[in-house]
C-alpha cells in the first residue's frame, strides 16, 4: 500500500486527511456542545447561564447541586434508589429469562420451533402502546400500581425479545461439539445450560446488562404511567415533575439534577462501549 508516491500526491493525501480530521472533530464538538454546556451551566449562577453561551467558568458554584437535590420532597436520593432498584430488577430478569429462552431456541429441537421463533421475532416489533392499556388494567387490578412490580416482573417473563434474539445469535456461534461432549458424559440440558453455555455467553450477557441498564434508566413512558406517588418516583419521573413544579424555574439546579441523572448512563457507556457496539451491529438496537 505504501509504495512511494510522487510528492504532490502524498502532500495532497495528508492535507485531505487533516481536513477530514478537523471536520470530524468540529462535528463531534458541535454534537457534544449542548451536553458540555449543560454540565458547565450546572455550576453557574442562574443569571450567568442566561448570559453565557461559552464553556468557561467564571466561578465554581456547587449550590445548584444542593438546591436541586432538595428541591422536591422526598429528596433526589430517593429517586436514585428507586431507579437503581428498578434497573437491577430488570437486569436480573432479562438475564435469567432471556438466556433460558435463547438456549431453547438455539439448541433444542422441539415441535413447532420455527413457528414459536417467528412469533418471538414478531413481538420485537410490537409497540408498547398497543399493550399498555390492558396491561395497566391488569396491574391495577393486582394492586401493583405504585410499586416497581409492573416494571420488573415482565422482564422475568422474557418480554424483551430483542435480547432473546441477541443471545440466540450468540449461542449459534458456539461450537456444538462442546454440549455434545457433555451430553455423552451424561449431562442433561439444565447442566449443559448452566455449566457450559452460560459461562461461554458472558459477552452476550454483558451486552444485555448494559443495554437493559441504559434503556431502563432512561425509560420514561412506563415509569410515568405506573409510578404516581412521589415516594415511588424514579429519576426520569422526578426530573419531569421538577420541571412541572418549579414555576420560577431555576435552570441551574435543574441542570445539576440532569447531570446527576446522566452520570450513570455515561459510566455505563464508558464501561460497556465494546458490548454496546457489538450489540448494535449484531441486532440493530436503538
Amino acid at each position: 500500500m505504501t509504495t512511494e508516491l510522487p510528492h504532490p500526491i502524498r502532500y495532497r493525501g495528508r492535507l485531505s486527511a487533516f481536513a477530514k480530521h478537523a471536520g470530524l472533530v468540529l462535528l463531534g464538538f458541535v454534537m457534544l456542545y449542548p451536553v458540555l454546556w449543560m454540565v458547565v451551566s450546572s455550576l453557574r449562577p442562574d443569571d450567568e447561564i442566561f448570559r453565557s453561551p461559552g464553556l468557561l467558568l467564571e466561578s465554581l458554584r456547587t449550590e445548584n447541586y444542593a438546591g436541586g437535590w432538595n428541591a422536591l420532597t422526598p429528596a433526589f436520593g430517593t429517586y436514585l434508589v428507586n431507579s437503581t432498584i428498578v434497573v437491577l430488577g430488570c437486569i436480573i430478569g432479562n438475564l435469567v429469562s432471556c438466556s433460558m429462552a435463547a438456549y431453547a431456541f438455539a439448541r433444542l429441537e422441539f415441535s413447532g420451533k420455527r413457528w414459536w421463533f417467528g412469533i418471538m421475532l414478531g413481538t420485537i416489533m410490537l409497540p408498547i402502546h398497543v399493550i399498555i392499556v390492558p396491561q395497566y388494567i391488569l396491574f391495577s387490578q393486582l394492586d401493583w400500581v405504585n410499586t416497581v412490580l409492573p416494571l420488573i416482573v415482565p422482564k422475568f417473563l422474557a418480554t424483551d425479545a430483542f435480547f432473546i434474539f441477541l443471545m440466540v445469535q450468540f449461542i449459534r456461534g458456539l461450537p456444538r461439539e462442546l454440549d455434545e461432549a457433555a451430553r455423552i458424559d451424561g449431562c442433561g440440558h439444565p447442566r449443559i445450560f448452566l455449566r457450559i453455555i452460560l459461562p461461554l455467553m458472558k459477552p452476550a450477557l454483558a451486552t444485555t446488562t448494559i443495554f437493559t441498564f441504559i434503556w431502563t434508566w432512561n425509560d420514561f413512558f412506563s415509569q410515568l404511567i405506573y409510578l404516581t406517588d412521589p415516594e415511588m418516583y424514579t429519576v426520569p419521573v422526578a426530573l419531569r415533575s421538577f420541571v412541572d413544579a418549579t414555576v420560577s424555574t431555576s435552570w441551574g439546579s435543574m441542570f445539576a439534577m440532569n447531570v446527576v441523572s446522566l452520570v450513570p448512563i455515561f459510566l455505563a457507556f464508558l464501561i460497556g462501549q465494546r458490548y454496546l457496539v457489538r450489540g448494535i451491529t449484531t441486532t440493530g438496537g436503538k
Binding site: 454534537m31 402502546h129 392499556v133 391495577s140 417473563l157
Partner: protein
C-alpha cells in the same frame, strides 16, 4: 454388532432425544411463554376487545360497538396528531439516516482515531431518549436559550423556538437527527463488508467520487440502509418522551408537538378513556404495520442483494 443394529440404536436414541428436548424446551421456554400470553398477546387481544367499550377503570366496561373506531375518523385533534407524527417521521428519519451514512463514510477505511470518533457520535444516541436531554432542549430552544445567544453573537435576532407552533416540531426533529449515532454504527459495520476489490476495480476504470458512491457503495449497502430505515421509522412512530417534556405533557403550543403516542397517553391516562385509547393503539399498530409493509414492498425496487 451389525451396522443395522447400530442404525436402529441411533434412531431410537434420536426419538428419545426428541422427547427429552421437547420436555426441556417446555421448561426453558416457560417464562417466555407465560410472558407472551400474559404480558403480550393477551393484552393485544384485550385491547382489541376494549376498543369496543367505554371504560374509565371505575365503572365496569360498557359495550358501545364501533363508536371508538368511527370516532377515529371524526376526531380533528387526532388528525392533527397524525399529521404531526407523519411529518416528524418523514422528515427526521431520512435526515437522520443521511447524516448517519455521511459520517459513517467519513469514518470508514483506515481512519486514525476511529474508536474516539465513533464514541463521540454515538453518545448522543444513548442520552437522546432521556428526560434530562429533553429538559436541556427546552432551554436550548427557549426564548433566552443557548441557540438564541449564539445567534445573538452573530447579530441575528432569535425567537422562542419551542413556544412558536411553527418551529416547535422542528426542534424535536433536530433532537432526533442529533441521535444519528446508532444507525451510523450499523452503517459502519455494513461498509466494512463491502469488498475492497470493487473499489480498486473502479479506480482502475477511473470511477470515483459521486459515481463511485452511486454505483458501488449505495447498491451494496442498500440492505443495510433498508434495515436502518425500517427500524428508525418504527422507532420514530413511538417517540413520546421528548414531546411530553418539551410541551409539559400538553402537546402544545397549539398541538404542534402532539405526537400520536402523546395523544394516546392523554386519552388513556389523563382522561381515563381506556376504550378509546385501546382503539387508538390498534390504529397505531395498523399504521406502523402499513408503513413497514410499504417499505418491504418498495424494497424490491431498490434493495440489492449480492447473492
Amino acid at each position: 454388532m451389525s451396522a443395522l443394529d447400530e442404525l436402529r440404536r441411533l434412531r431410537r436414541d434420536s426419538t428419545t432425544d426428541r422427547k427429552r428436548d421437547n420436555k426441556a424446551a417446555f421448561w426453558f421456554l416457560l417464562p417466555w411463554f407465560a410472558g407472551l400470553v400474559i404480558i403480550t398477546l393477551g393484552p393485544v387481544a384485550a385491547s382489541f376487545g376494549l376498543g369496543f367499550t367505554e371504560y374509565n377503570l371505575i365503572q365496569p366496561p360498557e359495550f358501545i360497538g364501533l363508536d371508538n373506531f368511527t370516532r377515529v375518523f371524526s376526531d380533528e385533534r387526532l388528525h392533527n396528531a397524525l399529521g404531526v407524527t407523519f411529518t416528524y417521521v418523514l422528515v427526521s428519519v431520512p435526515l437522520q439516516l443521511a447524516f448517519a451514512l455521511g459520517v459513517a463514510m467519513l469514518l470508514d477505511r483506515g481512519l486514525r482515531g476511529l474508536a474516539f470518533y465513533r464514541s463521540a457520535f454515538y453518545l448522543p444516541s444513548l442520552l437522546g431518549s432521556s428526560v434530562a436531554i429533553a429538559v436541556l432542549w427546552t432551554q436550548i430552544f427557549g426564548a433566552d436559550g443557548l441557540v438564541n445567544r449564539v445567534l445573538g453573537f452573530f447579530g441575528i435576532e432569535g425567537k422562542g423556538w419551542i413556544s412558536d407552533p411553527d418551529t416547535a416540531l422542528s426542534t424535536l426533529i433536530v433532537l432526533n437527527v442529533w441521535t444519528f449515532g446508532a444507525p451510523m454504527i450499523i452503517f459502519l459495520a455494513g461498509l466494512r463488508q463491502i469488498p475492497g476489490v470493487y473499489y480498486e476495480a473502479a479506480a482502475i476504470d477511473g470511477v470515483r467520487g459521486w459515481s463511485r458512491f452511486r454505483h458501488i457503495t449505495l447498491p451494496l449497502l442498500s440492505p443495510i440502509i433498508f434495515f436502518n430505515l425500517v427500524l428508525q421509522i418504527i422507532h420514530a412512530f413511538q417517540s413520546f418522551t421528548q414531546a411530553f417534556v418539551v410541551s409539559n405533557g400538553t402537546g402544545g403550543p397549539s398541538d404542534s408537538t402532539m405526537f400520536y403516542t402523546l395523544y394516546l397517553y392523554q386519552q388513556g391516562f389523563s382522561r381515563f378513556d381506556m376504550g378509546y385509547a385501546a382503539a387508538l393503539a390498534w390504529f397505531l399498530l395498523l399504521i406502523i404495520g402499513a408503513f413497514t409493509a410499504i417499505n418491504f414492498w418498495a424494497a424490491k425496487y431498490w434493495v440489492f442483494y449480492d447473492d
